[in-house]
Structure formats: structure tokens, C-alpha cells
Amino acid sequence: MMLLFKKVIYLYLILVINLYVCSYLLNRISSRFELKRGYTIGRVGGLGYPVLKLFRYLSKNDRLNIWEILIFFFSFFIWTIIPFSPSLIIIRFENDLIIALLFYLVLLFLILMNASRSRYGFVFKNATKNILMIYTFFMPVIFCIAGIVLINRTLTLKEIVGFQYQYWNIVYQPLGFIVMFTSALLLMKLFTVTKKSTLLLGQDILKEGSGFGRLTVRISYYSTLFFIIVMIIILYLAGWQNLFFINGNIIFAVKFYIIFFILVLLDKATPQLNDFNYLVSINWRFLIPVSAVNFLLTIIFFILRNIYGII
């Protein structure tokens, strides 16, 4: 019992530190990009800014609703399945990859439902459009994961990481990695961790007050982003495997921040994508065909090696 408690404490400590560092980095990068100026501590990109922002959220009166409470609960609960390191798994399943994906889908669903109940908003007019869009972004991700599963012949995340002790999966599945990464970038653009999304939440979201509910939504955005980064690291970049003599946990953190940094850079360097048709065209012209081709190649490879024994 004490061990479990210790694990939970560790996990949430990591999450909170991660949230702080990521929001600090994000503000820092965006302020460098946008040439913002101001006083050191209070300004965007200062060390105290995330804390100040937290206090600002907490100081506002805001009535919580059921979706926000569920989101808050779930955005932390999702991490009980997905491991940061081999010993930090709280709930053990045999096929935890599927459970993780299910949890992720539920989190997306909750975020969308919260967006739909928006007080001022437009929402149901375009909600169906947005739901369709986010779930179509989910399709290429599923294709890629299926390819990985075919190669490693397992549904357990720990075993997938273990399989990569010699060669990382990115060597076998470069196309899959590109698709996953692009999809992460587009999801980041959709949720716009860097900005309030007018596409997803409507023009009137800018008028909405910022209270505890807003904080939970923001945490959930970060959570989805962390989820997809962690998935990329585990599936393609050998997770917590030691690199030469360096400890696996440190390598994991380094990979995490490098990917986060590249994602934020790309997000800042490209303009906001608030055009529904353009996003859908990216999805149908690039992501889905590439991921399907990747999946087909993997199947052919699998059949030739395992059934006919040619390769």
C-alpha cells in the first residue's frame, strides 16, 4: 500500500513539474518569437509567470460543471496506465496499449463535450464538424500503432520498449513516425495550447471568464499533448532504454523535452490553422494515405517473414 502511495506521489510530482516546465518553456519560446518585452518576473517567459497564471485562474469565481470535473479527474487518471519508467506503472494490464488508447479517446470526448456546453457559444452548430475532424486525426494514429504492433507482436508497452534494445522502431517505421509527429503537431494546433482556440470553441470563447474550469481544460490540453509525446517516445524512440552508459530515465526526459521543443517551435513558426477545409485536406491527402501505405508495407513484410519465411 505504501509502495503504491509512493508511486502515486512520484507520478504526480513528475506531472506537476512537467506542467510547470512546459508552460514556462512555451511562454519563453513564444515571447522570444513575438519579441515581447516587460518586467522580468511578471512578464511572459519569466520564471514566476506559470505560478502567477495559476493564481489568476484560482482567483476567479467560476461555477464548475460535470464535464470540467471529469476532465480534471481523467487528465490525471490517464497517467496510471502510461508509464514514464518501467517501475512507475500503477495499474497493470496485459494489453495496456489498447486501454491507453481508449483512455485517450475518452479524454478527447470529454474535452469536446465541455466545448459544446460552452455558455456563450456557438458550438452545436459546428460541434459535429470538429468531432469528425479530431477523430479523423485519430485514424492515422491507429494505423501507425497497428504497424508497430505487427512488428513487435505484442500489445504491452513494456514489451514494446524491451523489443527496441538493439534497433529503435523508427528504423523500421520511418513513415509511421512522420505521420505520428505531424498528427501531434496538428492536434496541438487544434487544441492550441499556445492560444485559446476560436475554431474549436467558437469566436465567443474569448469572452469567457477564466476560472478553475478554464484551468482544468488547459491541464487537459497539456495532458493530451504529453500523452502523444510519450506515445511517440515509447513506440518509436525506445522509451527508457539505456543509451550507452546513460540512465534510461534521464534519456526519457531528454527525448521528451526535445520533442516538445520541436513541436512548439513548429507550432509557432507556422500560422494558425483555423481553416477547416485545409485541415481536412491535410488529413485526407497526406496523413491517411501515408499511414495506410505504411501499414500495407508492414503487412507484406510480416507475411513474407513469418508465414513464408522468405526474409
Binding site: 513564444s30 518569437f33 513575438e34 519579441l35 515581447k36 469566436q203 509557432k268 513558426a269 507556422t270 500560422p271 494558425q272 490553422l273 483555423n274 481553416d275 477547416f276 477545409n277 485545409y278
Partner: protein, 507 residues
């Protein structure tokens, strides 16, 4: 000898061909008009309501006149009579004319007066289709439109309501009503002293406030036949080009917000700040400069200021290609802009649009070149033109104009003559007979034209014919066939200034 000749020529004497056109008009419209005369560089004509239709048909169909554009229709009330001003222009003959018509019914009786006005407009509409836009009581109603965009929703486009009908997200019919901009502005438009008006007239264009002032002062100089010193002309050109750059930068920043490019936005804002500081250094104010005086300017430029200008301009020239590549080397942005809101050359002409929006469609028309405005003849620059007239072209042409303005300023600061500017007139002793005057200038949005009546020391009536009203009418036409998501982009790409749309509320 050449210099003496040059100095002796007033701007009004430079255009001799106007006389020719006036003679033609007098010949063809001998019995129909009450009066034809030349005001400034334009032709002014008075007519009756009954003979208006015949006059319009004659000038439209006569191959020697070929007046084929209706630029604007303005109305105002003086001595309980409603007076309608028709602003017409011809592409092939390169002249413009103003027709003044007085309606018969008194302005007190609102209903009969509105009915007569609408009847007149409908009659004009048989010859010029674009007259329909100026109908008094519009038939637009909320219930007939699918999407209604109120004036406060879009940032920077807060002077009109947009009513749209759409099918599957594609706009089939668009109506724009600028009724919200009909405001009581009597304190500026009637019975106002000349000095007071010079300080207040910049309200009609808050993005580039120097141009209304310059337009008004040029008109008065024309009336008084004042010879303006060369140094003054140079200073006026420098400040107006700076204002043009500032306006275009603010336009680019607006577009960057809509396109979602935050990095470009912050860079553009810094450059605009630099320009505004320069303008503040020269004039003492950012928005309403109050800088131009009749026959001169309020403050001379000293050596230090000139150095400052050339240093800032050099910095701007370094930064502009960076900003341009941020915005236009990006396929996401160019895909969005390309083929949206296409305005063909013919349609743009019919709407009476001028300025960069016209040039983006392929017409090479710029008052700086076509008429001898200030001393633009002395500097070498190209008039930037586009080809396709879509949003991308309209966006791109602003960058080209900024580069042209930079080259103009560089030339001017290098060759500004050293002259002593002395005070020419004393406004307190001014006493003019009753006259009417028209004047126009190339402002960043298009051709800014004013008509005023003056007597003694006061302006009795001022009518502003800004180019943004034409852009609104163009927007009505080009919105159809585009997606509903692109409304804001298309409207912003036309650079509509709220001040120019402002109309006097009829009493």
C-alpha cells in the same frame, strides 16, 4: 530660364486638356445643363432633375466623352433643399466630373423627399448599375438573410453590417448596409472656420490623417493661386509617403492577425511604431497631425530630423523583405489568399474603386502619375500593378507600394532644396467671395475627393467622397461565390477605413 518658367507655372495651368473637354461638354449639353465650369482639375456641372437622365445618357454613350464610371453619389441638405452630387469619371479620357442636382421636395417632409431621391436613383440606375447601392431605404431585412454580421463583431471593420445568404457554406448573396455610419457630424461639415476645419478634417481618415488636410489645403491654394515653395512641396511629399507606409503597415498587421501569423504581426507592429514615432517627431502627433497649412507647413524640417528620417527608412528597408518572406513564402498563407475574393478589372471599374484595390486588378491608375500632384514628377518611381485581383494580389501590392514609397523618400531627403519659407497669407484678414471647389488626392485607400462651398472666412458645406465606400460596394459583388469562412479575410483585404464611410445624418 527653365527654372523661372518652372516656378511660374501653377498646378491649375498644367492641365490644358480639361479645357478641351469642357468645350466638348458645352457643345453637346448646351440646353440641358444650367452651368458648366472648371473647378481645380475637374469639371463641375449643375443640372435639373428632369434633364438629368438625358445628360447622363449623352455623356455615357457619346464616344468623345465616354463617361463610364459612377464613382459615388452623395447628398446633403442646404436651405431646406436636398442636393445630390454625382461623381462620375472616364477611363479613356482621364477626367472626372461632378454633377450637382437639387431635388424639388423640401427636406422637412421626410417621406416625399425620400421617395423622390429613390426615384432619382432608380432613374440613374438605368444607365449606371452601381447606383442601386446608394438607395435610401434598403430592402435588406434580417429575416431574408442566413448570416448577419453586426458591426461590432469584426475587428477594425466596425462601420457597417453585413447580411449574407449562404448555401452549403458558400455565399450566394451579400448585402452591406453602412447605415450605422450615418452620424451627426455637423460641427465638421458645415459653417466652420478654415483654420478649425484644417485641424478637424483629419478625422475622416484616422489611418492616414495627413491626406484630408493636404487635399483641403491644395484646394484653397488653387483658389487663391498661391505659388508654393519647392521645399514645402518636398516636405509634404515626405510626410505623405511616411503616412502611406504607416497605413499599409497597419493593413498588413490586420491581415496578419486574420491569417494567424503571430511572429509576422509582432515584427510589423514594431515597424509601424517606428513610422509613427517618425511622424510624431515631424508633426507632433500620431493620428491627427494638423500639419499642413495653406501655402506651407506648420514646422520646417531641420538637419537632425532629415537624418532621423533617412536612418529609420534604411532600417525599414532592411526589415521589410524579412516580413514579406514570413508572410508570402508560406504556402499555408498563400493557399488561403489565392483565388479568394477575385475582383475582375471590369467589375472594379464599374464599382468606381480606385487606389491599390484597382491596381491589383491590373489597371495602371495613380493620381501621383496621372495628374501632376505636388512634385511627384521630379521623383522616379514605378506604379505597382497586379494582374488577377484576388486577395493575394491585393496583399502583395501593399508591399510593393511600401518599397516604392521608400525609394521616393530616399530621393526626396537627398535632394531637398534649402529655401527660406516665409509666411504668405494672414487668415484672419481673408475674405473670399462665394465659390465652390473640388479637390482630390491619392490617399492610401484610393482617390480621396472633397467638395466644399466657401464664403468669407468660413466653409459653408463640406462633402467628403472617400474611396472606402466604393470598396464596400465591390465587397458586395465579390463576396458571392466565396466560402463563409473567408468573409473577414476578403473584407480586410479591401482596406476599408471607417472614417471615409462616415455620412452626415439628414435632419
Amino acid at each position: 530660364m527653365a527654372k523661372e518658367l518652372y516656378d511660374g507655372i501653377y498646378s491649375s495651368h498644367k492641365l490644358v486638356f480639361i479645357e478641351k473637354i469642357k468645350k466638348n461638354l458645352e457643345f453637346y449639353l448646351k440646353d440641358k445643363t444650367l452651368e458648366i465650369k472648371i473647378l481645380g482639375q475637374e469639371i463641375f456641372c449643375k443640372a435639373d432633375v428632369e434633364s438629368l437622365y438625358e445628360i447622363l445618357r449623352e455623356i455615357r454613350e457619346n464616344p468623345e466623352l465616354e463617361v463610364d464610371i459612377l464613382s459615388s453619389i452623395n447628398k446633403y441638405i442646404s436651405e431646406n433643399r436636398c442636393i445630390v452630387l454625382l461623381n462620375l469619371s472616364s477611363i479613356s479620357n482621364n477626367f472626372s466630373m461632378l454633377i450637382k442636382v437639387a431635388l424639388k421636395s423640401p427636406a422637412d417632409d421626410r417621406e416625399s423627399f425620400a421617395a423622390e431621391y429613390n426615384k432619382l436613383i432608380n432613374e440613374i440606375g438605368r444607365i449606371y448599375e452601381s447606383a442601386v447601392f446608394y438607395l435610401e431605404s434598403s430592402t435588406i431585412k434580417d429575416q431574408y438573410s442566413d448570416i448577419v454580421i453586426r458591426s461590432h463583431i469584426m475587428d477594425g471593420l466596425d462601420s457597417f453590417d453585413t447580411y449574407l445568404q449562404a448555401e452549403d457554406g458558400i455565399i450566394t448573396k451579400a448585402n452591406i448596409s453602412a447605415g450605422i455610419s450615418t452620424v451627426p457630424i455637423y460641427s465638421v461639415t458645415g459653417n466652420i472656420g478654415i483654420t478649425e476645419l484644417i485641424s478637424k478634417i483629419s478625422r475622416f481618415d484616422y489611418n492616414a490623417g495627413i491626406f484630408p488636410e493636404l487635399c483641403f489645403c491644395l484646394a484653397l491654394e488653387e483658389l487663391m493661386q498661391i505659388k508654393v515653395a519647392k521645399r514645402v512641396q518636398f516636405i509634404r511629399m515626405i510626410i505623405s509617403e511616411l503616412m502611406r507606409i504607416s497605413n499599409h503597415l497597419s493593413y498588413i498587421s490586420k491581415m496578419a492577425i486574420i491569417l494567424g501569423s503571430e511572429i509576422a504581426l509582432s515584427h510589423v507592429l514594431i515597424e509601424q511604431e517606428r513610422m509613427l514615432r517618425l511622424i510624431e517627431l515631424i508633426t507632433g502627433s500620431r493620428v491627427h497631425p494638423n500639419y499642413i497649412r495653406i501655402g506651407g507647413v506648420r514646422k520646417d524640417l531641420n538637419e537632425e530630423k532629415l537624418k532621423n528620417i533617412s536612418a529609420s527608412i534604411a532600417q525599414l528597408l532592411k526589415k521589410m523583405p524579412k516580413i514579406e518572406s514570413m508572410l508570402l513564402d508560406n504556402t499555408i498563407i498563400t493557399n488561403k489568399l489565392k483565388n479568394t475574393g477575385i475582383a475582375e478589372k471590369r467589375a472594379v471599374h464599374n464599382c468606381g474603386v480606385t487606389g491599390p484595390n484597382l491596381r491589383a486588378s491590373g489597371a495602371r491608375y495613380d493620381l501621383r502619375k496621372n495628374r501632376n500632384l505636388l512634385l511627384y514628377k521630379d521623383v522616379s518611381f514605378l506604379v505597382a500593378t497586379g494582374k488577377y485581383g484576388d486577395c493575394l494580389e491585393r496583399f502583395y501590392i501593399r508591399f510593393r507600394e511600401i518599397y516604392q514609397s521608400i525609394t521616393i523618400i530616399e530621393q526626396l531627403t537627398d535632394s531637398i532644396p534649402d529655401e527660406h519659407i516665409k509666411k504668405l497669407i494672414n487668415l484672419s484678414e481673408l475674405d473670399m467671395p462665394y465659390t465652390e471647389m473640388i479637390s482630390s488626392i491619392e490617399c492610401p485607400h484610393g482617390v480621396f475627393k472633397i467638395y466644399f462651398e466657401i464664403a468669407g472666412n468660413t466653409v459653408l458645406k463640406l462633402v467628403v467622397m472617400g474611396p472606402s465606400r466604393n470598396s464596400l460596394y465591390l465587397a458586395e459583388n465579390i463576396l458571392c461565390g466565396n466560402r463563409a469562412e473567408d468573409i473577414e479575410l476578403i473584407l480586410a483585404s479591401l482596406d476599408i477605413s471607417s472614417g471615409e464611410i462616415m455620412q452626415e445624418l439628414p435632419v
